[in-house]
């Protein structure tokens, strides 16, 4: 059992804060000592995994760095080159691996990402507008007074309000935020379905080293990590992806194909994603949503695909089945355990109520973040093999119906039975529903590492 020094870990890594508001500031660091001075001044404001005895704070602050940012902080060369190569290259250079080509290609990203001017991500989460503005003003003051960093861009994000109520929905109308993995040593109460499947059918937390550097992973090894150990320890890697959603195209497609598909529009949506819009897993309830399942933490992520090899409940290519196949590939789910990622993020742009006029060129999407110990083995593998390719699912080169990067249309097969109410249906001419607008790979250091970085005492020997 791993023993975690929770106050040495940034809070954003240990917890989804579940705050309604966020501002992700993208910083360019000074190319001299002032960058370290900025970090040193910032340090007391950073939210750790400390216990919140007096309730949640009004706001939280966390920071992460690109490899270019670490270079500006003057880390020693021997430390800089000890980082994994995919982090060193950055997300833009990895576009061929990730399938970020065509309409998702870096040439079409927002300029701060295209030009790789972002050295750091400064994430502020807040309970209220006022708390957000106040905290951000503090951050700006530290930047100005030290001269160590400047804001080259930012992304506001917020939980969607539907009918005046805060929700956990995203713009396509699906309730989001299910199914982040459990890890050993985390205090979160565990839900069946969240960790790894055991041979007896129960679920257990994943090894800590699947998320945090410095701990054994599912392979029994420490993750590849920079030197010295104190620089890596309690840190992790983050992927930031600004994912634009073509809400108009999505609604239009559902309307059109929903008329042809026997199950109708809502069932078609559920088959594409693998969850009904309210969050009910299609695998557990293939014919209709069931709020009782959604509310029940013992059930809402607790399912497997092993008894549905034909995909007649949850289609083989459905988004949630592709991105977390659980036991779908056999071997009691063990092929999935080393490909798990922890997701963070919030939607951006205003919610467009059903029936309202909506355009694809409106600013609307999700600020999506992935946390994992090994970018290549976890995030990149899921993106390359399970989202942008279908061979593991015996689907050839078919892509994820929701996230797949498509210019010219693709297809998605809803497997069916001989029951006339559940016939097979081929969804053709799939448009690109989601587009990448930019992002990068970041390192989220632990607190000791941040202090060493701020004072120039990282010593790789």
């Amino acid at each position: 059992m791993s023993k975690l020094n929770e106050t040495d870990i940034q809070g954003f890594v240990l917890r989804g804060y579940n705050f309604p508001l966020a501002r992700y500031m993208f910083l360019h660091l000074a190319d001299d000592d002032r960058a370290g001075q900025f970090l040193d001044r910032l340090l007391p404001s950073i939210t750790t995994g400390e216990h919140w005895d007096d309730g949640k704070p009004d706001s939280t602050v966390n920071i992460a760095f690109t490899h270019k940012g670490l270079r500006r902080l003057r880390l020693p060369a021997a430390s800089l080159l000890s980082f994994p190569v995919e982090f060193l290259e950055g997300m833009q250079a990895r576009s061929a691996v990730l399938g970020d080509t065509g309409r998702n290609a870096p040439e079409r990203w927002e300029s701060i990402w295209r030009e790789e001017r972002v050295n750091a991500w400064l994430g502020v989460n807040a309970m209220s507008e006022q708390a957000l503005e106040s905290c951000c003003a503090d951050m700006l003051r530290i930047m100005e007074e030290t001269g160590g960093a400047s804001v080259v861009g930012w992304q506001d994000a917020a939980a969607l309000k539907v009918d005046g109520q805060l929700t956990t929905k995203e713009h396509f109308g699906f309730t989001d935020g299910f199914g982040n993995p459990d890890y050993l040593g985390f205090e979160r109460s565990t839900q069946p379905g969240q960790g790894k499947l055991m041979p007896d059918g129960s679920w257990a937390p994943l090894a800590t080293g699947e998320l945090l550097l410095g701990y054994a992973d599912e392979g029994g090894e420490l993750p590849v990590a920079p030197i010295p150990h104190l620089l890596a320890n309690n840190g992790t890697f983050m992927v930031y992806r600004k994912l634009h959603q073509n809400v108009a195209a999505f609604r239009r497609y559902l309307e059109e194909k929903g008329r042809q598909y026997v199950g109708g529009k809502e069932k078609l949506a559920a088959k594409l994603v693998g969850r009904w819009r309210d969050g009910t897993p299609v695998e557990l309830s293939p014919d209709s949503p069931d709020p009782a399942i959604v509310m029940d933490k013992k059930r809402n992520v607790n399912f497997t695909f092993g008894n549905d090899n034909a995909g007649t409940r949850c289609p083989i290519g459905a988004h949630v089945r592709r991105t977390n196949p659980r036991d779908a590939f056999g071997f009691e789910g063990r092929l999935t355990n080393r490909r798990r990622i922890t997701r963070r993020g919030l939607p951006y742009g205003p919610y467009a109520p059903e029936g309202a006029e909506v355009r694809d060129d409106e600013e609307r999407g999700v600020a999506f973040m992935v946390l994992n110990a090994n970018l290549a083995r976890q995030f990149e593998f899921v993106q390359q093999q399970w989202i942008e390719y279908g061979n593991d699912s015996h689907l050839g080169n078919e892509k994820d119906p929701l996230l797949g990067n498509r210019d010219e249309g693709g297809s998605f097969l809803i497997q069916g039975t001989e029951d006339p109410k559940n016939p097979p249906f081929l969804c053709g001419a799939l448009p690109g529903f989601v587009e990448l607008r930019g992002g990068d790979y970041f390192f989220i250091p632990g607190m000791t590492a941040l202090k060493m970085m701020s004072t120039g005492t990282v010593d790789p020997r």
Binding site: T7, D8, T48, E50, H51, G214, G220, M447, T455, T457
Partner: protein
């Protein structure tokens, strides 16, 4: 004899660091931050405890074995390791620490479990002794000389080399004359300051 090599005492103290999940910044990091900012050389607090040959403060965390399978082992807590080589006996040294640099000592050990403070000298001594490990084998490269003797010897060596360079090849009488003067100057030179590492010309 453990802990002693000639006239030099080798002290090793292991003090457990406070583990408080409610602390904003963990005590081990606070301690690292404090230690990282301590001055060195003549301005080191240990230069004031002038019998110190060398002192070292380290935060000891889990030792990491990288290999397959990773061997994950954890210490009971993190520890502050204090190592010091000094002249004389332990009681005197601890008393000097408590009375000559009490603020420095408090700002370091207050991050450790059960630390009573330097104000109560007897309690301080007893705490430090409780945390002491026996130093069974160590290397004191000072040839049984005190700090002052060692600094003086280095001063003399540098001065003699300089004297030779200036006077080699001179006639015997002239040489003897110069040497007498040199000797006087050398004897009159002030003691080098503790913590000063460089040659000090006379």
């Amino acid at each position: 004899m453990p802990n002693e090599s000639g006239s030099v005492y080798g002290l090793t103290i292991l003090s457990p660091i406070i583990d408080d999940p409610h602390a904003r910044i963990s005590h081990d990091l606070q301690l690292r931050m404090h230690l990282g900012a301590l001055p060195r050389g003549e301005d080191s607090p240990f230069a004031k405890v002038s019998s110190t040959h060398m002192a070292r403060l380290t935060v000891m965390n889990d030792v990491v074995y990288v290999g397959m399978p990773a061997c994950e082992e954890h210490l009971q807590s993190q520890y502050l390791v204090f190592e010091s080589n000094f002249d004389g006996d332990l009681d005197t040294y601890l008393r000097r620490m408590a009375t000559e640099i009490p603020d420095h000592v408090d700002s370091v050990w207050s991050h450790c479990i059960g630390y009573p403070g330097a104000g109560d000298v007897a309690a301080f001594e007893s705490y430090m002794k409780k945390c002491q490990l026996t130093t069974t084998f160590y290397f004191a490269d000072v040839n049984d000389k005190t700090v002052q003797q060692t600094l003086r010897a280095l001063q003399t060596q540098a001065a003699v080399a300089s004297f030779i360079e200036r006077n080699q090849g001179k006639p015997a009488a002239e040489l003897q004359n110069a040497f007498t003067k040199f000797l006087g100057k050398l004897r009159a030179a002030p003691d080098p300051r503790p913590g000063s590492g460089k040659d000090q010309s006379i």
